[in-house]
Point group: C2
Chain length 356, copies 2
């Protein structure tokens, strides 16, 4: 039985999304026990609404405070010691849960997780990793998506190790290919950091493909794409913007006049199938990698269907010994400076973590 | 009469694309004279095919060499002194053409243009700027798209000035809004370079909107979006990859079985209209900004329809005194270090310029 803690209060919709998603998850997976964290009376009311107060694989764990979406990370960490995020992290730290899922404020989630769970000994900085759909019908894991705006080559290398371990664990690919996001395939391309990161990756035991470009993310050229958090965040948000614009234009065009409306009826099943294939909700759930515990971040605006997939990612990672896998791979590399560079204990409000 | 030089030999398709595009352009615009640059016999043969050898507003200017798409920039500059790109640049330098257009090797185009035309006195580094379609049905001008992988705050600021001038000249917007690409709207977001660039932009006379995120490019939040060439290139290529994937999936779905094929027939006019609205060919033609002359880079794979739009961009820029406009705006700012930082005379093979 895998125990997963759920921050029921986070995200744009809170309980109205998290509770139904949890109930659906319990229905589909019978090897999981969910710990619903948040204000007990509110959670009970939400469960009652769904007539599911007495589920045998569900526990409520009270947390009196809620981190708001706009709370500065350092303040959330310092002043809300009984927040649902903090309680979730504590449950994972104490071994009472194998993972936790939150749709809350990304900056606060990262700060609290780093503080409570600590960063792995071999890792300088945790990263945010998420899967994006690709042309092969699979996912391309991309990291970092916004936790680290200034990266050293060593960090990018560690992202490669962690991303590789995640794909290995969750997708069952033995030696995932790793690509370094750059502006050309040639070794001489890119800025100094990227060039040096390329050297580190090339010399490692990872299955390093070489440089990849932006379009390779969606081509599925490699299983993992590594980049700094600034570039990753821009690429992610740009994709969201483009997809939104295209969806919007196609909707408008199918509403212009009678003929397009008739055409829309004919095309509806096809368009629905198309929509399903590229539905971002199925890719919801970013991993905060590099911590001594599994933390999954759902998109803040996710609905119950999307939040379900975030829980699934936590479930997959918990079932496959992700943390040990990263630790084992990293143990091959000597890294004396990790502790110095890390600074777990000094989160501040300028912490850059934003994916939604 | 505006005189525009055309590098007829560049791009993936060379004469078979450039010549028909030129003829169409001459047909639609009667205030323009085109100078077709390249191997005279080949150009003549291509014109003969179209029965257009004797057009009164068309001249052929012989250039014996061609820069190949994979020629290293420095070698193209040093060893091919009679290349079609070089001859085009010379024509602009000597005032015999107001602008030139090439679909050739971006790195070589930038190196040769910098060497022949020189960078403007007030500008440190030229940038590549291109318009992307946005939700408002207009274009968002984005720069830099790959000429500068490591930028100082000052460079980003200059990109803002140049982008602003371009939009003002070509779109007739008096005070275009300028956004700084970042990973959050708040002033504290981003890396050090971006934060300092934000200060420079805020203190300037530009119509600075503040930070924008990746999705704002397609929302059309600002007229101009400024970023370093690494980030810009990744955003552009990521967009290309996503658009390609979505187009591919929708095509596949409409071919699966008889019903979707029937639906496709019904939906065809709507899908065509959709395609037309987001057709990237209409946005073809990136400006190499910051040089003492107008240079427009067409996508290497552009067809005649796409190349036509690249010529149109050159035409618009030449008609609107772009260079003077940039010079005037920049003259308000004291910039002592420009000459030092520039280094026009030392192009090398690691020059990062790739947009196609």
């Amino acid at each position: 039985m895998v125990r997963i803690a759920i921050d029921c209060m986070g995200g744009d919709h809170g309980l109205s999304v998290t509770v139904p998603a949890c109930l659906r998850f319990l229905k589909e997976f019978d090897d999981v026990h969910l710990i619903l964290v948040g204000r007990q009376p509110d959670i009970e009311a939400a469960l009652l609404k769904k007539k599911a107060l007495e589920h045998p694989r569900l526990t409520i764990h009270h947390a009196s405070e809620v981190v708001e979406m706009d709370d500065p990370p350092a303040q959330a960490l310092r002043n809300k010691k009984d927040s649902s995020i903090r309680v979730c992290a504590n449950l994972v730290k104490e071994g009472l849960a194998s993972a936790f899922v939150s749709a809350g404020n990304t900056g606060a989630l990262m700060a609290i997780s780093r503080f409570v769970l600590k960063t792995m000994d071999s890792i300088d900085r945790p990263a945010i990793a998420s899967s994006l759909p690709n042309q092969l019908g699979k996912g391309t894991l991309m990291l970092d998506l916004g936790a680290n705006v200034d990266c050293e080559p060593e960090h990018l290398f560690q992202f490669g190790v962690m991303g590789s371990a995640l794909v290995k664990c969750t997708e069952g690919i033995d030696k995932p290919t790793v690509g370094l996001l750059n502006i050309g395939e040639e070794v001489i391309k890119g800025n100094e950091v990227v060039k040096k990161a390329g050297e580190l990756l090339r010399d490692s035991e990872l299955n390093f493909y070489g440089n990849v470009e932006g379009n390779d993310i969606y081509k599925g050229t490699t299983d993992v794409v590594v980049c700094d958090g600034f570039v990753g965040n821009v690429a992610l948000k740009t994709s969201e913007g483009l997809a939104h614009m295209l969806g919007d234009i196609i909707k408008t065009e199918f509403k212009k006049g009678i003929w397009p409306k008739v055409a829309a009826m004919f095309a509806a099943p096809v368009l629905l199938r198309f929509k399903k294939r590229v539905d971002p909700r199925r890719y919801n759930g970013a991993a905060l990698l590099g911590l001594k515990g599994i933390v999954i971040k759902s998109h803040g605006s996710a609905d119950a269907y999307g939040f379900f997939f975030a829980i699934k990612r936590a479930h997959d990672a918990a079932n496959s010994n992700l943390i040990d896998s990263i630790r084992t791979t990293m143990s091959h590399y000597v890294r004396p400076k990790a502790e110095e560079r890390r600074g777990d204990e000094v989160p501040n409000d300028s912490l850059e973590t934003k994916t939604n």
